[in-house]
Symmetry: C2
Subunit: 302 residues, 2 copies
């Protein structure tokens, strides 16, 4: 919006997935907002009709819920991609489709930084459906010369994320817990490493990739490239927020089956294509997140 | 049926996909046949209910059509797998689910025999949806300890296959063309290599794998392991049938985009697990196929 683009937002505003009108505060008069379901072709088609770029960020967002609602998970996460590509295929000037994919397509990771060439064996339906979405892009690119691009996000967090539950983006959830003076539970020793990436850095990467002709047709990792132990993240949250405490508890059953091993993204492809670098380290990002919810928490906690 | 199993068949009898009651000739009184749609849970659930083994062979079978009917392709090929797994998950004694997958999950292949570890970059929605099905199996195996197994079939052919159109299993289609004295068109020079596998050998491999405890949880190649040039196959058909002729014509547009490179399956995993070996070479298989349609062609050509 700040760069002068005409922006249309399609959002189901499903509260389970973080739908929240307050997220548009400050730009609500400068964007066209449509409340609707990305799965419904007659909702989608007229919106895609005059687009030059389609950022496809819609998904069922909880990987732990994906097995509880498998059909909905497919429809919202991957079926939506197929619908978007079908709408674009019908257009004369094909828009660029930029998919928010996930490092969850990889599943269990090997040692060392994660590259885009890692084998893809997802450990959740969420991951299977993000993988299917990536494959859909490459099929439509291959057969219809449609420009597409997928960004595999590691662990995103930041202002405006949902903080109702712990089912996705734990950083924000822990910020809330700390602000409320609660005890944050860490499963096991919390030594698993994650790659936390701040929302503004994600936005910047999406915009840069969409403007980089060489990025078309690629799958691109999007992470900070920094390995942070889970307990280090939790400690940062408690220290930055200034309240709350940490408790270490055993892994509950089944959670271990979702454990993917240490993840650090190799982001050299993204940097090479666009010059992008992460601008916000974890402590700064947590501080900004906490600051945001201190001012606007009433719009995010019901 | 010959081994004494209680067999239930669920088939949509969709004529596009080769549905044909005559295929049951000789065993129709010894199997339970249900005409229904594998996508419909209330059709599927009671049939799966008392099964010990579920062979999931249902699919939208034309990879070239898959882009014309993308949503149906998902639903019939991969959504069906999800439905079957969901039905099995609800059971106390989980049946073994054996999936007919495809070498099309791999896409463009590298040099040398194709192993199960090849990167999976499908060139068709058909391939994407078979890949999604494989991933579904491994998720349900991982989380619910459900026994599953996927067989990646190369180029199947044999008696009882549909010969109405050329959209899948070209060998049978060419047998019909030759029997009718027609000219068989070969795109390009016809030097691309394929791995043709006879229906009886496929059936044998499915039964052996279903009885091999070590096969559970695996993805297993199922092919002859023999590289046959496309033109060699066509020549064999014309010679064995005794009529028809071959003509070489240029590739039509878009067909080249489906070309995957030479394929020969490495079947050492299948052999190691079950002792299986292909029993029918191409000429013998073509002769049996031609013989079948000489006797029963009227049930397959409308």
């Amino acid at each position: 919006v700040g760069l002068g683009a005409h922006v249309t937002l399609l959002d189901s505003l499903d509260p389970r997935y973080g739908g929240n009108r307050f997220n548009l505060q400050g730009i609500e008069d400068r964007v066209r907002t449509v409340v609707g379901d990305v799965r419904v072709t007659h909702v989608l088609a007229p919106l895609v009709h005059d687009a030059e770029i389609v950022f496809h960020l819609a998904a069922q967002v909880s990987y732990s819920d994906s097995l509880a609602i498998p059909v909905e998970d497919y429809e919202v996460t991957a079926g939506s991609t197929l619908q978007i590509l079908e709408c674009c295929r019908a257009m004369t000037a094909k828009p660029l489709v930029v998919l928010a994919s996930s490092r969850m397509v990889v599943g269990k990771v090997g040692p060392g930084p994660l590259t885009e060439e890692a084998p893809t064996n997802p450990l959740s339906l969420y991951g299977v459906h993000k993988l299917a979405s990536e494959k859909y892009l490459s099929i439509y690119q291959h057969f219809f010369d449609m420009p597409t691009l997928a960004l595999r996000i590691t662990n995103p967090y930041g202002p405006r994320q949902q903080i109702h539950h712990s089912k996705y983006s734990l950083v924000g959830w822990f910020v809330r817990q700390a602000m409320e003076g609660r005890t944050i539970k860490v499963f096991g020793e919390g030594t698993q490493r994650r790659d936390y990436i701040f929302a503004d850095d994600i936005g910047e990467a999406f915009l840069r990739c969409a403007a980089a002709p060489e990025a078309v047709g690629q799958v691109v990792n999007l992470g900070s490239g920094v390995a942070t132990e889970f307990r280090e993240m939790v400690t940062a949250v408690v220290e930055v927020v200034g309240t709350g405490r940490v408790e270490f508890v055993p892994w509950p059953e089944n959670y271990e089956r979702l454990e993917t091993g240490d993840v650090t993204a190799d982001t050299s492809r993204l940097h090479g294509l666009t010059g992008w670098q992460p601008g916000v380290d974890l402590r700064t990002g947590v501080a900004r997140t906490a600051e945001y919810y201190r001012h606007h928490g009433e719009h995010y906690i019901r």
